[in-house]
């Protein structure tokens, strides 16, 4: 288990007979209480198909039913019940091409970590621009990995902080809007393939912004995690 931020943990799973997955897919985690009550939630796969482990990154919602258990109570060696990998729509592999624009709000970054690792592991030549929105630098997950990924000439990483930023912060500030999407992304005539993931309200804002900028809705794929904005 890796602590990403005070509320977010990455969990590595040892799975028997894992059939392999595509970057961007998710699994459903099912918990069963001692009285037989069952509940299920979806979690994106954070690892690349090429990685040795399958991992999930879970953000704890304080009043949540499932996420506090996964973040705070699960211990190495515990077993959980999974279904998947599922979801072929929000998946990317090198054959789908680009240029790629990935837009993440909060834990919406999880499937993109898989895609970016796959991008590197498969030696993809597709140019990628990633825009992440986080409340503060402390709450931005995968910070160190993002810095390493950005060292690749083909990968461009932009971060916007919506609540607080360090005094010497040189990235963007404030919520996502069409101006930020156009500076950090591709122009409509470059016909990017876009993936947007995060809280529902964030995804709606980003998708509407890109459509307003003239992007083809048919090349914009979205995945909503529920909840409000970032």
């Amino acid at each position: 288990m890796t602590v990403e931020t005070p509320r977010v943990t990455t969990i590595a799973l040892a799975i028997r007979d894992w059939p392999g997955h595509r970057a961007g897919q998710h699994v459903d985690v099912r918990l069963t209480a001692p009285d037989g009550y069952q509940t299920e939630r979806s979690y994106s796969i954070a690892s690349a198909p090429e990685d040795a482990d399958v991992s999930l990154t879970v953000e704890r919602l304080d009043d949540g039913e499932v996420s506090p258990y996964l973040v705070d109570e699960l211990r190495p060696g515990d077993e959980i019940e999974l279904r998947g990998p599922v979801g072929g729509y929000f998946a990317w592999d090198n054959e789908l091409g680009g240029p790629l624009f990935l837009v993440a709000g909060g834990s919406g970054l999880v499937p993109f970590r898989s895609m970016l690792r796959h991008h590197r592991a498969s030696g993809s030549r597709v140019p990628v621009r990633l825009l992440c929105s986080a409340r503060s630098l402390e709450l931005l997950i995968y910070r160190e990995e993002l810095i390493k990924l950005a060292a690749d000439d083909l990968v461009d990483v932009s971060v916007t902080l919506t609540r607080e930023a360090p005094d010497d912060w040189r990235g963007y500030r404030g919520r996502i809007d069409p101006a930020l999407l156009s500076t950090t992304g591709w122009s409509a005539k470059e016909e990017p393939l876009t993936y947007i993931c995060g809280p529902t309200a964030f995804v709606e804002t980003a998708a509407a912004g890109l459509v307003a900028l003239g992007h083809d809705p048919g090349r914009i794929r979205t995945e909503r995690f529920g909840g409000t904005g970032v």
């Binding site: 998710h26 699994v27 459903d28 299920e40 979806s42 279904r83 998947g84 599922v86 979801g87 072929g88 729509y89 929000f90 809280p199 529902t200 309200a201 794929r221 979205t222 995945e223 909503r224 995690f225 529920g226 909840g227 409000t228």
Partner: protein, 85 residues
Amino acid sequence: MHPLDGNAMAGVMHDLFARDMTTMGYQCTGCGKTGAVAEMAVYASGPGTVARCRDCDTILLMLSERRGMYCLDAPGMTHAILPLA
């Protein structure tokens, strides 16, 4: 309300149809628009799951589960589900 989308139904639908349904296309009876199953607006907080058309709110799918039995109703899909071009 902050609805999910059809990606959230990928697991259940895979159990029911034994294949990935998120990339399948549908046509809405309310407004005639076509879309991918992954794009439906999905409300999962009630006793069952309801999927609506993102454009006109027509109910496309209703899914409930009782003691391991699924009940699926697709009132708003004309040609139930078509492969997306």
